[in-house]
Symmetry: C2
Amino acid sequence: MTTLLQERRPRRERADNAARRRAQILDATIESIVRHGLSATTLATVAEAAGLSQGVTVFYFKSKQALLAEALRWQYEEYRSVWRAALNAAPADPVARILALVRADFDPAVCNRRMLTLWHAFWGEATARPLFAEISEGFDRERAAALHQQCEAASDLLDAKVWTPEGLAVALDSLTDGLWIRMHLDPDGVENAEAMRITCCLVAAAFPSRAAAILTASA
Amino acid sequence: MTTLLQERRPRRERADNAARRRAQILDATIESIVRHGLSATTLATVAEAAGLSQGVTVFYFKSKQALLAEALRWQYEEYRSVWRAALNAAPADPVARILALVRADFDPAVCNRRMLTLWHAFWGEATARPLFAEISEGFDRERAAALHQQCEAASDLLDAKVWTPEGLAVALDSLTDGLWIRMHLDPDGVENAEAMRITCCLVAAAFPSRAAAILTASA
DNA sequence: GTCTATACGGTGATAGAC
DNA sequence: GTCTATCACCGTATAGAC
């Protein structure tokens, strides 16, 4: 009887429902990791956060490991959409694009307690769970390539005595990650705007002819 | 009878034995975290790595939580002894001292797979376990203060259009942490020497009058 | 001090009702 | 699809022998 009703519902609607449920459960997973940590996150804590039963989370994700991997991908996709949008919205000037990527990294949509906690939770288990490392590496590489491309495009403005385009790209990527660690371990230590300002100092140092404009824009 | 024998042994020897056992167990704890991750590390995996029984690890550390906290402190103390030694061995010149601190961060004694894995394992659980956050914050603050002090001492050499001493100190600390993340997530991506070289680019950019010397020393 | 044995609760995953 | 009930297992911590 119920089966018949479901068959009669349009396929689209069923798919949407499934997508909504998956999103709801992934959200609850993230919520649980933030609250209890990755090691104390269980199917029970996820189900509770979702307001659903334990059985249904397994129904949609098959195993806990798969659920966690999907949550990581989900978070990376959100991050990716932010930096891609920033890149597309920026002017064609490569230095402006570099600044746009930097700004995106400290956008409260991406750089907040919830996300910082989640990144570090997964990164902390990356060695022990190759699947996590694999997911991270793929997304990280993509973002690093985008930044590297802009650094190459701006290489004529670079202080060549000190920097290479690759070196600057790695330094910028690492500096923002390092500031994320700081903000994660001591949330009251560095504000988003302050982190942004510090990163801009590096950009200004690398592009001396643009230093003044970069620094006033970030202040 | 055995009690009598123990009473007769000098107190020093008993204390030494206890210290050795504790070290042995802490070492095994770290070994287990590196192998299996923090969330899969149990009293059983620690006991197995130590070649001891599960009961004895509880005997020395009372609880699993206390054991993990001690392991974290143990690692931080090792790190601290390395950077303090580097600082003491460096010449009085503040730029040389900054470089010494940077070099210490990429010393294979400190920056290797084992340690990187361990740092990130604990940092990943820091939000959920305030004790871990507290331990990290204390040691991190100490190290940050040492670096900041040298940046202040070198402030007359600083490119003041771009940097403040505080800003540079945070940037340097964050950059090295960020390079640690990179090396952790993709161990084949950046070598220790390469990470050192990149960090030196930042130091060189901040102290223009010393740039040439800094860069040739790091190459 | 070190071991083995065990109590007790929680965990991931499955089965089957609705 | 979603739930509840259940299983076999594993986790921490304790007790008590030696």
